[in-house]
């Protein structure tokens, strides 16, 4: 058995190190480590409850709206507040814009450049892929970055700025748009649809969203020249539809408020079926984190106490806690959301080979294809002149939980207010689930499971297959170690 330590893992958000035990050319065990501690949960304690809206977006510059949405939802729950329809629609548009931009920034800037690497130079597909997706200089960036900036005008109009907007409030949003701005926003969405249908999908969004089987996906990819089709062809050539499987147990907190519950449903998916989510079944374990030991606690009662001397705890190897649902490690992200929404392509990809590199990326892109039309619909429903924000007062003593979906999965904020101040604040981020270390029972986290069995050649220091699997989760380590 030999040990391979890989880091820094670039083109992920934040600090990640992966240690692999390799024997007979295969990974036998993996330890995933977040090498940064940030301490937001503790610095929130003692602050005015509304200060959370200023502080928590700064946990993450890539999903700051998700953090903001979770805080606003926790405060609204604590106050028993319901927002007006315009506020809900504007929050959905703001949040969805960030999530879709995030999916594509991951695809173009973080994930695809690995296929352009010289190590693949012998492959028949390499030359074209390298020209298109090379890090920093690939031709795709000249298309994606301007399209991204134009799309972010949704946030300019509705949220003032991004990242770190303060526009999301417990009662709605701070910016009521005018009829003219509604017209302008429709134009922004039309231009973004045009980019997606021309460059990413090379097809109508609705046509891609209708694909329902691995065979249909493969045939679709053969027939066109868009960026996603290029990825699907490469992934099938490399067998990535059968690589990177974790425990095939998925969790979603539900996304985008609608009249009768979230548009994308909340739940747990295991053994091929969707189950209701019970938030009381969530605990965080600290047995392998550089945190003071203690029992696994539900987040509402959770604590975060960093060790002054990390070396004093030999079993620990990460600043990340290990969240568990009903005692089990779970995977969260776009694939979880699509499975729980009953999307046939996601379900059939998972039924064939379990969660995989291909399934995770395709689920993200399915979400893009399905949600942009939804954004068009939300915008149509906004009624200028009607209120965007409900009045409220922060309660003096209350608990609140905000469960939302960031681009990369389930994000929860658990808030306690005592005597008008924040007395407790615990956060469980998507990558905390996906990249968790082992728990007290020795159960590895989702990525740790997904890495086991990968082939590693003799003397290989940086296997590309490991890079693909790690990035298929779209990790955000700065959220993980909030």
């Amino acid at each position: 058995m030999s040990r391979l330590v890989i880091g820094p893992f670039n083109r992920v958000e934040g600090d990640l190190e992966v240690a692999l035990d390799v024997a007979d050319g295969r990974v036998r065990g993996a330890e995933v480590s977040a090498s940064l501690y940030r301490g937001f949960e503790n610095l929130l304690v003692g602050r005015d409850p509304l200060d959370a809206l200023v502080l928590v977006p700064r946990i993450c510059g890539i999903c700051s709206v998700s953090q903001s949405a979770a805080a606003a939802a926790a405060l609204a729950a604590a106050a028993g507040l319901v927002m007006p329809a315009n506020g809900r629609l504007a929050q959905n548009l703001i949040h969805c814009c960030e999530n879709l931009a995030d999916h594509l920034t991951h695809f173009y800037c973080f994930f695809m450049p690995d296929f352009a690497r010289d190590g693949y130079a012998g492959a028949p597909w390499h030359a074209g892929v390298a020209e298109r997706f090379r890090a920093q200089r690939g031709s795709a960036l000249a298309d994606w970055l301007p399209a991204r900036t134009d799309f972010l005008r949704v946030l300019g109009y509705l949220a003032g700025k991004w990242p770190h907007t303060l526009a999301l409030q417990p009662g709605g949003t701070t910016r009521a748009i005018t009829p003219t701005e509604k017209v302008r926003l429709a134009e922004v969405l039309r231009e973004f649809r045009d980019f997606l249908e021309t460059t990413l999908f090379a097809d109508a969004l609705e046509a891609f969203a209708a694909l329902d089987s691995p065979a249909a996906l493969a045939a679709w990819a053969e027939a066109r020249d868009g960026d996603l089709a290029r990825f699907v062809r490469v992934a099938l050539a490399l067998g990535l539809e059968r690589v990177g499987r974790a425990g095939d147990r998925f969790l979603s907190f539900g996304a985008y408020a609608a009249a009768g519950g979230p548009l994308l449903p909340r739940g747990v998916w295991q053994d091929g079926a969707a189950l209701a989510l019970d938030p009381a079944a969530i605990v965080e374990d600290v047995s392998h984190a550089w945190l003071e030991d203690g029992a696994a606690l539900p987040p509402a009662a959770g604590e975060t106490r960093p060790l002054a001397d990390p070396d004093a705890k030999p079993a620990a190897y990460s600043w990340c806690k290990a969240p568990r649902y009903a005692g089990r490690a779970v995977e969260t992200g776009a694939l979880a959301r699509q499975l729980l929404a009953g999307q046939p392509l996601a379900a059939s990809l998972v039924a064939a080979h379990g969660g995989s590199v291909l399934a995770r990326v395709v689920a993200r892109m399915s979400e893009v294809a399905r949600l942009l039309p939804q954004m068009e619909q939300w915008l149509r429903e906004i009624a200028p002149g009607e209120p965007f924000c409900a009045e409220w007062t922060a309660p003096q003593d209350a608990h609140g939980v905000g469960l939302v979906e960031a681009a990369r999965g389930a994000l929860g904020h658990w808030l306690t207010i005592e005597r008008g101040r924040i007395a407790g604040y615990q956060i469980v981020a998507p990558t905390t689930w996906n990249f968790s270390p082992r728990d007290a029972a020795g159960q590895p986290g989702a990525l740790e499971q997904a890495l086991v069995g990968l082939p590693v050649g003799a003397g290989e220091r940086n296997p590309p297959i490991v890079q693909h699997v790690v990035r298929s989760f779209d990790p955000c380590m700065v959220c993980t170690v909030h």
Binding site: N10, L36, D48, P146, G160, A176
Partner: protein, 332 residues
């Protein structure tokens, strides 16, 4: 100009904001056009793992030449001065040690964002992280590199402060440095580029009419001026956000929320709730930087008494009352 970019303890938001710079072919092409090349950036580099470590090690020992070191995120010296709260993955070495070594080799050193400039959010509360900026600890000179530090060019650390930065603050600074058109005199007392820090957020504020008449918002989403009740520091914060919109259209004030003075050292600890204005005898403590307090109080009283009904009533709504109808034209 070759750039080596490191992410210390931050949120990556300054990079995300930078990627949104307005440009026909994207910000990377815009930088390349001005002769700025990113030899290493954690979010964008092809190199990963041992390749990335080899590159950084070569830069640190002088065998790989580079010109500018950009650091994003606070520098964590904790726990107990060990730097263990942030170890560069794969290297076993604290990030603060990498930053010290690389800064010593750089012709220019830039702090990207308020965390890196002054400590930022990471330094709030009792600062268990022992977070600081590159050359400041809050408003106090010092920080990780010390008050006397000068980069190879002779410039101190250039503090592109903001939480997050506006993309153009970084692009314009880098392009000016690459063109040799940036000197010590272009920095203000807190070492920020003066081209954006010698204006106030108040300049170009879309709520200006409400400010003039002291017609104030009372709750989020109200159109009125946010200074009197909702903690807005636009008249005291140095930055040009309201004349340099985000994504061509937005700003904090245009978004309907208060300026929290995110370009200023110590913004993270205002000493009061962010969204509330501290007052003495009904008058806000923090008044505009550029006028005498007595004049402000006198003019505020006068202008309040002259506030048009349309402005007074619009201030506490989220949609404006219409302008009075024009005097010319057909009557209904």
């Amino acid at each position: 100009m070759k750039i080596l970019w490191l992410q210390a303890s931050g949120c990556g938001g300054c990079t995300q904001s930078l990627l949104g710079a307005e440009s026909r072919r994207g910000v990377l092409a815009r930088l390349a056009g001005g002769g700025v090349e990113l030899v290493f950036h954690p979010a964008l580099a092809e190199a990963s793992g041992d390749e990335a470590l080899a590159l950084l090690a070569a830069a640190a020992d002088g065998t790989l030449a580079f010109d500018a070191l950009c650091v994003e995120g606070a520098l964590l010296r904790g726990p107990n001065g060990s730097g263990r709260f942030h170890v560069l993955a794969g290297s076993g070495v604290p990030m603060i040690d990498w930053v010290r070594r690389l800064a010593a080799r750089a012709r220019h050193v830039l702090a990207i964002g308020s965390c890196t400039a002054y400590g930022g959010i990471a330094a709030s509360g009792d600062n268990l992280l022992e977070a600081c900026g590159l050359q400041f600890d809050g408003a106090e000179p010092g920080g990780l590199l010390g008050a006397d530090f000068r980069a190879g060019s002779g410039l101190p650390v250039v503090n592109v402060a903001g939480c997050p930065i506006h993309a153009d603050w970084v692009v314009d600074t880098l392009l000016a440095l690459a063109a040799g058109a940036f000197a010590a005199g272009d920095l203000d007392a807190l070492q920020r580029p003066r081209f954006y820090s010698e204006q106030l957020v108040h300049h170009g504020c879309p709520k200006n009419e409400f400010y003039e008449f002291k017609a104030s918002a009372q709750k989020p989403s109200d159109l009125g001026c946010l200074m009197e009740n909702l903690g807005c520091k636009g008249t005291q914060a140095h930055a040009d956000c309201n004349v340099r919109p985000w994504y061509g259209v937005g700003s904090c004030l245009r978004g309907g929320f208060s300026c929290i003075a995110c370009t200023e050292p110590g913004f993270e600890e205002p000493g009061h709730p962010f969204m509330a204005t501290p007052k003495v005898a009904g008058i806000p403590i923090g008044l505009p930087l550029d006028m005498p307090k007595a004049w402000f109080v006198a003019l505020a009283a006068l202008s309040k008494s002259a506030t048009p009904k349309r402005v007074r009533e619009s201030a506490t709504r989220d949609h404006p009352l219409p302008l009075p109808s024009t005097k010319k034209g057909p009557r209904p």
